[in-house]
């Protein structure tokens, strides 16, 4: 059930590069599960998390094919989180930083996220009960 509370999370890491991305998605998962609204501000490399062209691959080291390997893609994780929000009656607002998207060519993304900028992050933070910035190194 929706709690009416909102958390804003800023993330910066590109997919597959850092433990931060998975932790951020775990936190979003926990928050939505509890019925909280979540705004994600995806800055810099994090705009690549939602790219539609991501595809799972086989693993030649293990000799597995694509189905056996069940390689996750971050776009699928994000899509599942949007579905979870809907099921819980909570809102997931995922903002991809527009200029970061342009320089990376990351503009074709799965259903859910929207294009925005730093002001969206500020507005979300001011309207939130808590803000967490997860920086990169």
């Amino acid at each position: 059930m929706a709690s009416g509370k909102t958390i804003t999370v800023a993330i910066m890491d590109a997919p597959y590069e850092s433990a931060n991305s998975t932790t951020a998605l775990r936190i979003v998962q926990s928050a939505l599960q509890k019925g909280h609204n979540v705004t994600v501000f995806a800055y810099e490399g994090a705009v690549n998390l939602t790219m539609k062209a991501q595809a799972p691959h086989p693993n030649p080291v293990k000799g597995t094919n694509v189905e056996q390997e069940a390689h996750p893609t971050t776009k699928d994780w994000v899509s599942s989180l949007f579905k979870l929000a809907k099921d819980k009656g909570a809102k997931l607002d995922w903002v991809n930083c527009g200029l970061c998207v342009d320089e990376r060519g990351a503009g074709d993304w799965v259903e859910g996220p929207r294009r925005g900028g730093p002001k969206d992050f500020l507005d979300a933070s001011n309207a939130s009960n808590a803000t967490l910035v997860i920086p990169t190194k």
Partner: protein, 127 residues
Amino acid sequence: MAKILNIVETAYRGTLEEQDDTVLWLTHMLKNAGADISVLLRANAVNYAVKGQDASGLQFGDAKMTHPPEIDKDVEKMIEKGVSIYIVEEDAQERGLTDDDLLRGLRRIRRQGIPQLIDEHEQVWHW
């Protein structure tokens, strides 16, 4: 409106390709959007306050980098706009920086003063 402290620690990460530091840039954008925001330069990021940083001269094939980052100027512009830029004195000293090396208009703070500075802000974002 919440008082925000942006703590910048990581330095020169992707600055050449970005033509700036992405967290200073974000801070500037937030200030322009009306945020009450200050910056604490600590660890290697104290070097962002050094005068005369010069990243010019890069060229790849016939692609010349005509607009390199000018981080010292970016910091100066933020000071002019009224953003308080704090710098940790011990961190500057350890890196061999003297007052002559640093920009004007910075606010010096000792390490032991950081907890109070943090207490004085409602939002503390450590980048």
